[in-house]
Amino acid sequence: MKLSLKIWRQKNKNSEGIFKNYVLSDVSPDMSFLEMLDTLNEQLLSKNEDPVAFDHDCREGICGSCSMMINGKPHGPESKTTTCQLHMRKFKDGDEVIVEPWRASAFPVIRDLVVDRSAFDRIIQAGGFVSVNTGNAQDGNTLPIPKPDADAAMDAAACIGCGACVAACKNASAMLFTAAKVSHLGYLPQGQPERQRRVLKMVEQMDNEGFGNCTNTNDCEAACPKGISVHNIARLNRDFLKAKLFG
């Protein structure tokens, strides 16, 4: 099939970007979206043009690198799917496909579709960890964890930090990401000693990075390729209040 692509091109952080149009023919419906971009890049290279820069790593939907806005939706039209797992059979012959980087002041565009998401790393560094004494590993069964808690922690931990929540949010808020990271440790006994400090530090860092704030529109939940629930945001709010009032 034949696609007309409209892709954001930007040389570096400081240069002005612009949309460029490309026509790509012989796109196989079995290709992934990234393979389609690879094909485009091969053509560009053969014409001595700069290839389109985009982040990618595992191409298995678990690393969270392949972040791009496709036709106005983070990771494209298919729900709970990363860009690398999106297949071209979701598009029709002759479709126009608009590809843009995430737009947020906390995620500056480095080149073309690549944004700097280290703001997320700094939020994790601020409190998204548990401190564990070194030594022999404890026997797993000595620390009983109720099954519902373990499941909820696992659901929150499914967050791959791709930034789709920020991209989809009308306020470019990182609440879903931060809430997922706060919750996945907060549900577990290992996360309790640092629970209050964690939520305060992570929210502080989130604010310092210049993300917007949550207005509970729930677009983040719908955009999340891992289906992280906004329930975690309510949990963050509750933890935050508790930490301040009783901490």
Binding site: E100, R103, A104, S173, G212, N216, V230, N237, R238
Partner: protein, 255 residues
């Protein structure tokens, strides 16, 4: 101290302020609506109710100051949050689709501003009597129960809503208010960290339910006046104490 300052500056705290003040305003709106519905009970009831409110004295001022504070903080928080949100995405998308968000949730700033203008207009209209001064000072009402001469709130409201432009402006304002409330209430409980599954069943529906209630409850009055269910009471010659120029006739009692 620095941690307190940091807490006060945090977006989550600002949202909590937004939520609590918003819920206070909703509490007021419920009370105000129930009081207004006395229009259907006739002039005696609503005028007595209005007099009762006036006679609360310091308590009335406590509620008024509370409402002014709630409104002030609500607006202050919204400015803070809206400014941050604007800064958080300086470059807009070429194409962006809404996924799950409701129209109401995406237009809170617009509906909020519309409500602010309406509140000012509404106060100028029925509280200060600057809009439609003639209907505001429509004359007094002698209470059947006590014989006291009071402000004729009933006729003021009927005369006000007999003007179709006034009625339409109130209907429009209520559409904005309902839109605002439908997202705001549910959102406020989420911000306050309501997570219990049973409580969430209620809080997730309370916004749209309240929005519908306000729409029906508040609009029943202008619509009731326009279709003639609420009719003007016969004019009495009494002049209430609220009217400045007293004709000083034998059947007029002025204080």
């Amino acid at each position: 101290m620095s941690s307190l300052l940091q807490f006060l500056r945090s977006t989550v705290f600002t949202k909590i302020v937004m939520a609590i003040t918003g819920l206070l305003i909703i509490g007021f709106l419920i009370g105000h609506m129930l009081g207004n519905l006395l229009m259907f009970a006739g002039p005696e009831k609503i005028n007595a109710y209005a007099l009762g409110l006036k006679n609360l004295g310091p308590l009335l001022w406590l509620v008024r100051l509370g409402m002014i504070a709630a409104f002030g903080l609500h607006i202050w928080s919204s400015i803070q949050l809206a400014y941050r949100n604007k800064m958080a995405r300086p470059v807009q998308y070429d194409t962006k689709k809404s996924l799950k968000s409701t129209f109401a949730s995406r237009t809170m700033l617009v509906s909020g501003l519309a409500i602010l203008f309406f509140v000012i207009y509404h106060l100028l209209h029925y509280t200060f009597g600057i809009i439609q001064p003639n209907t505001y000072h429509a004359g007094g009402y002698r209470m059947e129960s006590t014989g006291e001469i009071v402000h004729h709130v009933y006729n003021m409201v009927v005369a006000g809503f007999q003007n179709p432009y006034i009625s339409i402006s109130y209907i429009l304002a209520l559409i904005f208010l309902s839109s605002h409330v439908s997202h705001a209430t549910t959102s406020a409980f989420h911000t306050l960290g309501v997570m219990n599954p049973n409580a969430k069943k209620i809080t997730s529906k309370i916004g749209p339910a309240l929005a519908g209630l306000f729409l029906v409850g508040y609009l029943s009055i202008p619509i009731g006046v326009m279709i003639g269910v609420i009719k003007k009471a016969p004019d009495q010659k009494y002049v209430s104490t609220m009217t400045k120029d007293c004709p000083d006739t034998p059947d007029c009692k002025c204080e």
